[in-house]
Symmetry: C2
Subunit: 330 residues, 2 copies
């Protein structure tokens, strides 16, 4: 038997503990090709909120009465897939539970990178860091010497963007809300910081922080941040569109005063999703692995102890209980 968190009901607005139910579920038989895994680390991420709704999106919705899913790192207990043996560390999506029997095809063996701990594959070597890495370097085609603006720079993805950009020789301006978060962004190496809660209009604050304009914008926010990026973009600027959290929450249509600059400045915008790049993981591990091991790209994790606390950890994402990546240790 595995212990798991099931989706009990779909939330309207902010999710609560009532939407989750803890229970025991039998493990499937260990047929040929299947692998029995004991989870050690679970990831909780904001995107999971979307999967709690019954709507079509780029990931299918969670099912009522079934365990939730999410990134997990565990150890192989027993394997009927010749590619795995007991003791292997693996990354997979059967999170929100302590044990799982999953097809070997759905498992990724963690690569051996000296100095890297297994939970890094849920953070800077997983969805968080991969989103930052591919968004910045592929979707936005950022290169050494570029002036990069990143919104929500104190968040898990944003702080990875700041550090990757510095490791690659770019100039970085990060936005964050409040003095404490802005200090944190500076401590990551950002050349300038914009405090969007300071009362100064964002376009003005950004124009002061980036007097020469910006070549790249990494968008986690949408709305006013995206409009300010349009306002200060230089010729041939490239925008990676990763998230538009402003619009998720407000439900209001987004309004842009400066979108016409797309033409005069020949701006390119590109929406992207991390999973499109899974086929290029070797490339990603090859560059990001040494940065994580060497401390050039650091993670400020918030670790919650015990499977029982998983929904609490998840809900904490929406009330600011975490700094950096939120993890559950089993």
């Amino acid at each position: 038997m595995a212990r798991a968190w099931n989706l009990k009901s779909r939330p309207t607005g902010m999710p609560t503990m009532d939407n989750f139910e803890f229970g025991e579920t039998p493990l499937p038989a260990l047929d040929d090709g299947m692998v029995h895994v004991r989870n050690r680390w679970l990831s909780v991420d904001p995107y999971m909120r979307g999967r709690m709704n019954d709507v079509k999106s780029y990931v299918p919705p969670f099912q009522i009465g079934a365990p939730l899913e999410g990134g997990a790192v565990g150890e192989v207990v027993e394997s009927k897939d010749p590619n795995f043996v007991a003791g292997d560390w693996v990354l997979h999506m059967a999170g929100w539970r302590d044990e799982a029997v999953v097809p070997g095809q759905a498992l990724n063996k963690l690569p051996q990178i000296p100095g890297v701990e297994p939970q890094a594959f849920l953070g800077n070597l997983g969805l968080t860091g991969g989103t930052a890495y591919w968004g910045l370097l592929d979707a936005a085609q950022a290169k050494a010497g570029d002036i990069v603006f990143v919104s929500a720079a104190a968040g898990a993805v944003g702080s990875a963007v700041v550090q990757i950009a510095k490791a690659k020789g770019m100039m970085v301006i990060g936005s964050a809300g409040g003095a404490e978060k802005c200090e944190f962004v500076k401590s990551l190496g950002a050349d300038a910081v914009v405090d969007y809660k300071s009362g100064t209009p964002l376009v003005k604050a950004l124009a002061e922080a980036a007097p020469k304009g910006i070549d790249v914008y990494f968008d986690n926010v949408g709305g006013d941040h995206l409009d300010a990026a349009f306002a200060v973009a230089r010729r041939n600027a490239r925008f990676a569109i990763c998230g538009m959290i402003d619009s998720y929450n407000s439900g209001e249509p987004a309004t842009f005063r400066y979108i016409m600059r797309v033409i005069a400045m020949r701006i390119m915008l590109k929406g992207f999703i991390y999973t499109d790049y899974l086929g290029r993981n070797a490339e990603f591990y090859g560059e990001m692995g040494p940065w994580v091991a060497g401390g050039q790209v650091k993670s400020r994790d918030t670790v919650v102890e015990g499977l029982e606390k998983t929904p609490e950890a998840f809900l904490g994402l929406f009330s600011g209980k975490n700094t950096g990546k939120m993890l559950v240790r089993l």
Copy 2:
């Protein structure tokens, strides 16, 4: 002496005849490297309205008391540049006048393409067709089999986009305002037409015209048209942003309900300007020349006779006096 139209005053809002002044100006001396040209065809284009303002844009403003500028096709009268001889047909920017002395470096000799008339280099083999060609094929990376949506499809650029897309084996949906313009778009070969004046909400009308969604959007309009394109875009859709006439006129910020689909659908947007592609004219003439000569890409020109009528022709662009490309014959 040349006869020319000078900018008398800068318009506020819609330009009028009072903003123009007709006069004689002495021609500069024919020094080494200079060429004396007699103009035969002048182009008037909507973008010239922007150059009447004293604001920084991607083309510098016209100067008060000096002749306006614009695309012109003429014949060489006398040349002190070894690259040109009397009788050569040339394309240049010293329009709004009957004669000019210009540096040979600022002249382009018209290529010899059998069956093509010289004024085509002000239309489908010039700014109009080049904007359509490069926007569709380079900025939006459109290819055979794509479903293409183009706004303002009855306009000069839009109708070239429709015909190029069909020549390249794409499916095309065009938008236009009113039954007559929609009929014209169909006559160009469009597979479906959306009448944005029909009263049906644009998103709904476009979803019906493109039940499988769209792969490419060629934007001449911005605003609701761009939002509708976000709403129906398929995965990896590409948008070429050519103009946002909705926003030029209203002065209101643009509002988008569907911009978040940029992420889920991995949409790419690219602003572009025709002049960026002048270095690739040989490529453009090589493909577009035979289409124009063979009638696969047609132009429905409105021809006004006489230099005296140039401002009138220009003003006519804003009151719908033209169908297709507006030209002045000298």
